[in-house]
Each structure stands twice: as C-alpha cells, then as structure tokens.
Symmetry: C2
C-alpha cells in the first residue's frame, strides 16, 4: 500500500467532459447550447464536484479558456488553472492571479506543472485532450453523453498512433436521457 | 391503444451495433478484431436475440453483406435479408434464396420492403445507417460500446442536415467494460 501523502504525488491526468452521441464537444459554430437539449440537466448531480475535489490543478487549452472568459460570471475555480497555448502572448489582466500561461509539448507541460507541485490534473479542451491521448497520457475519462446527434462540430477524439484500451468502472443513466461512463486506462501489467 | 396486429404494420427501423469509444464500427483495415479486446464478450447476453425477435427483416449495406459472406459459417439468419447496393449486379448463387438485392433511395428501399410485408426492420452497415439518419428514418439505436480508442476507422455516424434528439431508455454495463445504451428517437409531438 502506498501512504496517502505519496499517492498525492502520483501523476494522474483526468478528463471530465460532455459529448453528443456522435462524439462532438461543440457544435459546428463552436456552441454548447445543445447541452440544454435536456432542460433538467442542471438538476442532476453529475459528480463534477466530487471529481474536482480529487484534482490539484486544471490544465486548459486556449479555446476552453477563452470560452470560460467569455461567460459573464465570477471566476469559478478555486484551484490553479494552467492555460496551454503556443499562440497566446499573455493571460488577460483580469485573470493574472488565477490562470497561468504555459507552452510546449505534453511532456514539457507535465514537467512544468509537476514541478509546481500539482500532480493530479484535470485536462480540458478538445485539442489538448487529443494531444495527451496521442502520448497515452490520459488515465481516466468521465464522459457524459447527451442524447443528441449533432451531425458535425468539434470532435472529442482524433487519430491515434495505436489502440488504447480502457475499463469502464461505472455507468449511470440520468433522466432517461444522459449516460455517464467512467473509463480508466487499462495498461499492460509489467 | 393500437391492436397488436396493427402494431406489426407500423414501420420501425432499428439499429443494433457495436462501436469503439471513438465511434468506429471497423478499424482502419475494415477489421472487427478489436471487438475481442474483451475476451469474455461472447459470454454476455447482449440482448441481440431478444432484439431480433421483434423485427421482420434485415436490411444490410453491401459491405456488411460481403463481410457476412466472407465468414466461413452457415447462414445465420432465419428472416429475410435485403441487401442494398447500387453497384452489386446480383446476389451470389449460394445466397439467392436467403438474400435479396434492392437498389434506390431510402424512401424507395422502405417502399419496396414494406410492400413485401416487412415493417419492423433491422438496418445494418455504416453507410446505410448514415443514409437512414440523414432522412431521419432511424427510430431506435442499441449501441454497444467496446472500451477501446481505435484512433481511426469506419465511423458509425456522419454529417446530418439537422440535430436529432433521442431518449436513452436503458443503459447496461457488462464485465466492467462494455456499455450498452438503448436510444429511442424523440420526435416533437404534434
């Protein structure tokens, strides 16, 4: 058994995301209005709070960060947010004490964030998740499927150098509509 | 209430299919060996027999039919099989009393099969399912998700002229691995 304080230093990268039945995380216009196809979606406990209670920091792609900034609401996050972008010059003044710009490859991103003392990471953003998957650096995915076919948009998944296998630890059906699956990467035992 | 014998004449088009987590029904080589990633998959009752007991006929795309023909096994189906192809000239001699070639658009296909007295149809094949979905002619989808990311292959879904909404009537987790969702098309009430 690993002592609890060592467990905290074990790197783990997790995803918690909603998709359409056809695997899109945003529609053709980049919008997420289709999430409200099930109006009662906001009445369910999706497990987001429990999930984020077990992470140390958020790592967002630029588009995800800019989408968050576009919402007219108070800053939501009580843990550090790292924004990965090779094009953004700086974090807008308003968020400078809350979000931190980082650049580089997936290993460089991880080295940087680990060095700051954050090991349990919430990875968000289509491109960023795809880059992490290409390096086989995603350990868990909680995917919440909204029962709509969009027929186009921003896909969650993209090409991979090889097949990746998972277990499905839990599946939950909400409101006869929304299915949430908790996938954990199944790597070959040594 | 509709009498049972009238229900049988109510057209319904259903899909029962397995996909990877990233929505592929065949890998980059057209193969389905990844279905056996979970070796115990053949020990579960996937509900296929119950599902097919409530259909009158199968409607397959050409690729699906040719894949079936390539298996070195006895003919499996006890109900009529219609093969949709605009390129195939005829059904191979061996299957002439079991499978029937049809051509045409989705409405033409349905008119033909209904006219033969078959109303509850099992639609199979990526291209055919996509064509039916484009015309909003799929009523139910039972999707069995194998917990692998293939990173490429033949997708189940493609572009659509408009968003299609569903309910999820049932979700089942098998072997801490395979998730089966039963989606029913949710159309606007008149």
């Amino acid at each position: 058994m690993m002592p609890d304080n060592m467990k905290q230093n074990k790197p783990i990268n997790k995803v918690f995301i909603a998709t359409s039945m056809d695997g899109y995380i945003a529609d053709r216009d980049g919008g997420i209005g289709w999430l409200d196809t099930i109006p009662e979606i906001n009445t369910i406990d999706s497990g987001y709070d429990a999930f984020t209670s077990e992470i140390d920091a958020f790592v967002f792609g630029r588009v995800t960060f800019e989408t968050l900034c576009s919402f007219d609401m108070d800053w939501f996050y009580t843990k550090p947010v790292f924004v990965v972008s090779n094009t953004l010059d700086e974090i807008p003044q308003k968020y400078k004490d809350k979000a931190f710009l980082i650049k580089g490859t997936v290993p460089e991103i991880l080295a940087h964030v680990h060095q700051k003392g954050y090991y349990r990471l919430y990875i968000d953003g289509g491109g960023l998740i795809q880059n992490f998957l290409k390096e086989d650096m995603i350990d868990e995915l909680v995917i919440t499927t909204i029962p709509v076919l969009l027929g186009g948009g921003t896909p969650l998944f993209s090409s991979l150098p090889e097949q990746l296998n998972f277990e499905c630890k839990r599946t939950t059906l909400y409101l006869d509509a929304i299915v949430q699956n908790h996938y954990v990467r199944k790597r070959q035992s040594l």
